[in-house]
């Protein structure tokens, strides 16, 4: 059995999406900007796709949902354009993000910081959630933008976007949300929350890689990041990724149709996996279930380093993820584990399981069995569960 439980990283392409994209490679391959039938053949499918994407987030037709190459591009666009328009001109000097944003926000904010922009990194609480009032506390009359993700990629924690949006509207500050992990998992409605900008990515909801979008509310349109042939109404130049856009439209339609399934069946499977994992002693899950997207578990097995667990899972053909030190290029521990103030000993133990509507009950049963065996094997190796002679003090219990 081969089990894919890394759906917050990317997802399988829905076969209907694949089917919808197929004609745009070898038959309807025209450049939409040209003046001939090949081009015209793409116009209606593109428009249909955009309509599905608009409908998926309840955007108004006068708003702009601009197709980009990925969520990273969308996030860079927002922050850098705000920098060009507000910070560089001296009108404002400050942006607010959370301390657990995706690297495409985090690294961009750090870059802008190096260019003189002030950045506040809002803390999360012990449940892994941003409290809306902290946003209010840090807004100044020089704040240009607040950018807070809708759902955290590591924990699945749902942030209070509605409240944060209201605070931003009251204070006259622009509000952007990275909704990459929200779409297809919980209802996303830009009208519900005073959202000015919203980022999405097709491959997180069973669409193709290489296509994302940025929602911009009417009147809040950003300076383009990519200049050129003035595609997408001049907001984002570059020949349209016709197949990608068609695929994203179809994927959005499927995702919206599957929302109930996601919040019932997928959640049920997730809960079953989580219950079984929590039966293992010394196991901890971050963020209460009710405050999480229905597909995600971030779990810590005491005494087991994250990469070692991934190794054993991979040997059993199970794909999961860890943000912890030893599996990554740098040697930092999982930033979320640090931010929630988890015990230092657990910082390197976090494993993320993320399900999708393609996850089956059999896969969950199999995963439970494999995890239990892996915990048994790795704890037998682990020095946390090692024998020490009586009275022996290794002097390692001091805090570091």
């Amino acid at each position: 059995m081969r089990v894919y439980l890394d759906n917050n990283a990317t997802t399988i392409v829905d076969p209907h999406v694949y089917e919808a994209m197929e004609p745009f490679f070898c038959q309807k391959y025209g450049n939409p900007n040209s003046l001939h039938q090949f081009a015209s053949d793409t116009h209606k499918p593109l428009k249909d796709a955009l309509q599905k994407i608009y409908a998926g987030i309840n955007a108004k037709s006068e708003d702009s949902v601009v197709i980009t190459s990925c969520a990273t591009e969308s996030n860079n666009w927002v922050l850098k354009s705000i920098y060009f328009e507000y910070i560089l001109t001296g009108r404002k000097n400050h942006i607010i993000i959370s301390e657990v944003e995706h690297p495409s926000i985090m690294a961009t904010a750090k870059f802008l910081e190096s260019k003189g922009c002030k950045v506040t990194y809002l803390p999360i609480n012990s449940e892994g959630i941003i409290e809306a009032h902290t946003v209010r506390d840090f807004i100044t009359d020089k704040t240009a933008l607040v950018s807070i993700m809708w759902v955290n990629n590591e924990t699945g924690a749902i942030f209070p976007i509605k409240e944060i949006g209201e605070i931003c509207a009251q204070k006259g500050v622009l509000f952007h949300t990275d909704a990459v992990q929200a779409i297809g998992k919980i209802p996303v409605n830009v009208q519900s929350a005073n959202i000015d900008y919203l980022t999405m990515s097709a491959h997180k909801f069973h669409g193709p890689k290489g296509v994302g979008a940025l929602y911009m509310k009417k009147g809040k349109e950003l300076t383009p990041l990519l200049h050129g042939g003035a595609q997408m109404n001049g907001f984002r130049s570059g020949t349209l990724n016709v197949a990608g856009i068609v695929g994203m439209g179809k994927a959005m339609e499927q995702a919206i149709d599957s929302l109930d399934f996601e919040m019932s069946e997928v959640k049920e499977l997730r809960d079953r996996l989580e219950d079984a994992l929590l039966e293992i002693p010394d196991t901890f899950v971050v963020t209460p279930r009710a405050k999480r997207s229905p597909n995600t578990i971030l779990v810590s097995f005491r005494g087991i380093e994250g990469e070692a667990m991934l190794w054993d899972l991979n040997r059993a053909n199970i794909a999961a993820s860890t943000g912890s030190a030893c599996a990554s290029e740098d040697l930092e521990s999982n930033p979320v584990m640090e931010a929630i103030g988890a015990e230092a000993d657990l910082a390197h133990t976090a494993i993320r399981f993320s399900l999708s509507r393609y996850t089956t009950s059999e896969e969950i049963d199999y995963t439970i069995e494999v995890v239990k065996n892996a915990v048994k094997r790795l704890r037998a190796i682990s020095s946390s569960y090692a024998y020490a002679p009586t009275g022996y003090n290794n002097g390692l219990n001091e805090s570091h």
Binding site: E305, A308, L331, E332, Y387, L396
Partner: protein
């Protein structure tokens, strides 16, 4: 750089086959109890290194024959990633049958090399080297325990990187053994500098009295000094003109100048010329030396004979 660095591979691709096998089936994983040690009439040593909060911790068990100092049995337990398990296992294996003094000589490089499939290909990617350094450290700790060095005194060793608890002596040794030249390499090998980064250079969120950049500089200076020393060892005739000047300066600094200064004089090297088989070193006396009677006799002969002795038989010293 270039094409190979554009698509990041998984670090697992860079593990040797041996490393993979050891992760799956570590041979020396486990514990030695007091009873087991007693049955072997051995002294039980239990040594810890690292901390879970840093992502790696290893506990080494030794049963040592107190009469011969031979390590009869060696086991480990490890909180750590796959390579930490593999290198701890290899370390425990390498200890077996050695005396404690021999075991202390096992380095992180021995551990890493023992896990290679082919001699020239590293067993693990660079950022995983710290796992083998840890194996090396825990042996030293076990040896310190066996030899009755107080654990407290061990703990009070100068720590440069507090987060990863990397000591000054470990850093100095690892830098020398592996000829490290960058902060990134130090971090790969020891984990020092990977966490709060305060220990890398001044200006971090915590002030330190010694930084990793200082240690690199210290090592570079040491290397330069060694190079200078080794050029001093090379035959004078094979040196470049600059090396010859330096070598002469050094001999004079080490053996002669101090004496002259004490008498209120000094000496200046003006030139070195090859004159047939001879090397003519032109000097000028300064201060009290110029005009001193001995400067053209006793002192001159002394200088010439020291230079002949230290550098080349064919040296002649000519005062101007």
């Amino acid at each position: 750089m270039g094409i190979d660095s554009l698509i990041g591979g998984t670090i697992w691709d860079e593990y040797s086959q041996k490393v993979c096998e050891l992760i799956n089936n570590p041979k020396n994983m486990g514990e030695i109890t007091q009873e087991q040690a007693d049955a072997l009439q051995a002294k039980l040593i239990v040594a810890d290194f690292g901390a879970e909060s840093c992502g790696d911790a290893v506990r080494l068990y030794w049963a040592v024959d107190p009469k011969t100092d031979v390590i009869l049995e060696s086991k480990f337990k490890s909180f750590g990633c796959g390579t930490a398990i593999a290198s701890s296992d290899t370390m425990a294996e390498l200890c077996k049958g050695k005396t404690v003094d021999e075991a202390v000589k096992i380095t992180n490089i021995d551990v890493e090399k023992a896990m290679r499939d082919t001699p020239d290909v590293p067993a693990v990617p660079p950022q995983k080297m710290h796992c083998s350094v840890m194996a090396y450290d825990v042996i030293k700790k076990a040896a310190a325990l066996y030899k009755g060095v107080d654990i407290e005194s061990f703990e009070h060793e100068k720590i440069v990187c507090e987060c990863a608890r990397v000591s000054l002596s470990t850093l100095r040794e690892v830098i020398r053994l592996n000829d490290l030249t960058s902060i990134e390499q130090i971090t790969d090998y020891t984990k020092a500098g990977a966490f709060c980064k305060s220990c890398i250079r001044p200006g971090g969120h915590e002030a330190r009295d010694i930084y990793l950049v200082d240690l690199l500089e210290e090592y570079q200076k040491e290397k330069l000094a060694k190079q200078a020393d080794s050029s001093y060892d090379a035959p004078f005739a094979q040196m470049t003109i600059v090396q010859r000047l330096k070598a002469v300066e050094k001999v004079i600094d080490d053996n002669i100048r101090q004496m002259l200064i004490m008498d209120g004089g000094n000496i200046e090297i003006l030139d070195i010329k090859e004159n047939g088989a001879n090397f003519d070193i032109y000097i000028r006396y300064l201060g009290a030396c110029s005009g001193c009677a001995s400067s053209s006799s006793g002192t001159l002969f002394a200088i010439e004979s020291i230079l002949k002795d230290k550098l080349d038989e064919n040296i002649r010293v000519i005062p101007l």
